[in-house]
Structure formats: structure tokens, C-alpha cells
Symmetry: C2
Subunit: 241 residues, 2 copies
Amino acid sequence: MKILIVHAHPEPHSFNASMTHKAGDALRRAGHQVTVSDLYAEGFDPVEAPRHYQDRENRDVFSPLGEQRHAYKGGTLAPDVAREIDRLEQADLLILQFPLWWHGMPAILKGWMDRVFVSGGLYSSKMRYDAGYFRGKRALVSMTSGAPAQAFGPGARGGDPDTLLWPVHYSLHYMGFTVLPPFTAYGVQGHGYSYQSNDALGRHLQALLDGWVEHVTQIDNAKPLSFPGWQDWDVDGRALR
Amino acid sequence: MKILIVHAHPEPHSFNASMTHKAGDALRRAGHQVTVSDLYAEGFDPVEAPRHYQDRENRDVFSPLGEQRHAYKGGTLAPDVAREIDRLEQADLLILQFPLWWHGMPAILKGWMDRVFVSGGLYSSKMRYDAGYFRGKRALVSMTSGAPAQAFGPGARGGDPDTLLWPVHYSLHYMGFTVLPPFTAYGVQGHGYSYQSNDALGRHLQALLDGWVEHVTQIDNAKPLSFPGWQDWDVDGRALR
């Protein structure tokens, strides 16, 4: 299996980095091929903007979707976007690794979606959801939070993980991915702290890493999340039931 | 009343720009003071990263939250972040104006939250939610979508607006804002198209602008959205009921 980890943390010694390294090592040991898109290390620009389009369809008015379509068809996509699409094409499994910032992905990863999921190329009005471009591929979210696990759930202080991840998961579903259950490392404190320390926090972090490695190496047993598809909507997109 | 519109669209002639202009004009006519943070025009950098911190608390390991706290206390916040905080301090009402990209805010606006909602300054473990820094101020989302209104709702193709906006709304709630009902302009097609054209699309867009102006000038009649607060949680953040 070929696996792409899109990694979104600014610090190479962060716990997120440990998660990406540990997962990569375990997956390689299991015989898989692993590629990491380290968005910070690669200086990925997450801002969808005119500067990324050399050959404009319309020089007067910048329409992101129009220019995405035009650049895809003309083969003039920005090199970083073309590179990310190439990595996605090759992957059987996509992993998004990030710290939960403001109930969602860090901007650098949100903008990776904004720029890389190209309109007119990787999706169209018909090529979406269960008819999406990446159908047959799987995807999953792996995130960290400083808050403790008990603070998450319906009505709880940190919010319900299913709700807060809905926009991320549904965007992956939109692109055709089969979305696997997420993994969340809660209570990640002590930035730059070694998870190898033999104290309570060190043992907690080590257990999280072990749990993540188990999660990611056992995905064939995971039941995918369920989202509505074309058979659930009328022609205008209304829910049929 | 002082109003801050944080505007997140790359094209000055976009429908989003029309929404910001129309709201600004109407609110000024009603006697209010309006400031616009035009994130694209100002070249706002949405990527939380070491480059924004000149005086580091820890030069070896970059902890975003640790450096935010340190910079806030030491008065060394990046000038763009300090400017945005100043604008927020002055505002009675915050409006976020953006196109719905991948079921959420464009990266430039997500990163505005990542960088501007400064840990240790604008929030702490105690100063959050209904005890948040900006309590007493109001906030609302105004967004556009190319998809038609009927495609939105529970189980519908575009998703349930309450769910997809939850991370944005809850982040505003976290900061102490009273969150007002959002406004969504659905079916915004024809980028760069004049809403003054006297055809079906022009009339649709004109009606959306009129609706938005009415929404934003009538906010005193709007019933705020309801989110859980400190009285709803136990000490660990679990929901009490």
C-alpha cells in the first residue's frame, strides 16, 4: 500500500512530528511505502490567490474556481499543487496529521485543500461524493489536542469530535475518499517534552503513540464513517428522507 | 456602534466584496463606524510560524501557544496581529465575510484566528466561553456559496449549515462573543458578474444583497445562537446533563 501523510505542524520536535514518524516507521516495517508532505518544512503557501496562476483565463477578475479549471486543463497548475496532486494520485491511503487549532485544521492544511482539490480537475458537479475522483482510496484524520479526552463529547467543553471534524471529513468524502475513523491524541501537553520520560506525562504520551501506531496499522479492520451519497438526494440535492 | 468586518476574498470585484461594501454603506448610513480588515488586500499571513516571533521564549523548540503568551506579555506581538487585536478591542460587532471553501473559512481567515486569538492574552483556561475576553461584544458570519439553498440542510448534499459552521461559531463563542445568526448568500454564480444586470441571476444577486443589508441592520432584533457555558460542565469539562 502507498500512504501519503500530510503533516501540518511548525515544529520538527513536536508531538505531531513524533506521531508522523512513528506511523511512518510502523507502516514501512509492515511493507508499505510512505510519503510525507511536510507542509511547513516545504513552505507550502496555503493562500489561494492570483499569484499562483501565470496563465490566466481572465486577467480582469480573479475567479478561484475558474482559474483552477483553466490551469488544470492547460497544464499550468502551480508546481506545489501539481506535486501534491501527484502524491495523492499515487496514494492508496491519505493521512492528515495536525494539531486541533480553533476547532479545525491549521490554516496551512486548510489552504492545502483550498489549493490542491482543484475544481474542474479533481471534482466537478457530477464527479463528487461517492462518484468522487479519489473513490477507492481511503483517508483518515489524526489530530492532537491539549485538552483532556473527557472534555470532548456532545455538549462538553471542547465540543463533539464528530461535529468539529465534520467539515474535514465531509470534504474528504466530497473528493471520493472512503473516510476511516479518526484518531485523536488528547491531553498533549508539554510541548517539546520527551515522550520517553518515565513520569506520568511521558507515559501518557507514549501510550498515545502506541495507540496511534495500532490504529494506523489496523485500518483494514476499521469500519468507515458513513456519509450520504447520490442515492440519498433528489436532483436539487435535498435529502430524500 | 463600532463594527469590524473581516473580509476574506481575493478578488476586489467579487460578490463577497459587494456584500462588504453594501453592509458598510448601510451601517455607516445608520450612524455606525465601520472598519474593514481586508485580509487579501493587506497581505495577511495566515501561517502561524516561528518567523512571527522575534523575541522567542524558547529558541530551540517552537511552541505556538507558548510563544503567543510570551509575545503578548512582552509586547512583542507581530505588528499585523497587534493591529487586528486593536481593531477587535474597539469593535462592538465583528462580522466575518467569506466564501464557503471546503465547508469552512478560506485559509487566510482560518489563520487569522490561529494567529490573532492569542493564547495567554485573549484567552486562558479560565477566560473562555461565557467568561471570554470579548464578552459583551457580538459576532456574526456572512458567507456565500455557489450551491443553491435547497442543497443545504440535514442530510442534504451541501451539508447542514449549523454543523458546517459549528467550528467557526464555537470559536467565536470560545472568545466570549455573543454569536448572532449567520447570513448565507446561496447560489452565488457568475463570478465578476454585475448584480445590477436585469436578468434572473442579476435579480437573484440583488435580492441577496438586499437580504444581507436587512440582516445586518436588524441585528438588534436577532436572537443569539445558544452554546453551552461554564454552568453546563463539570470541572473536567464534561456535559452535566
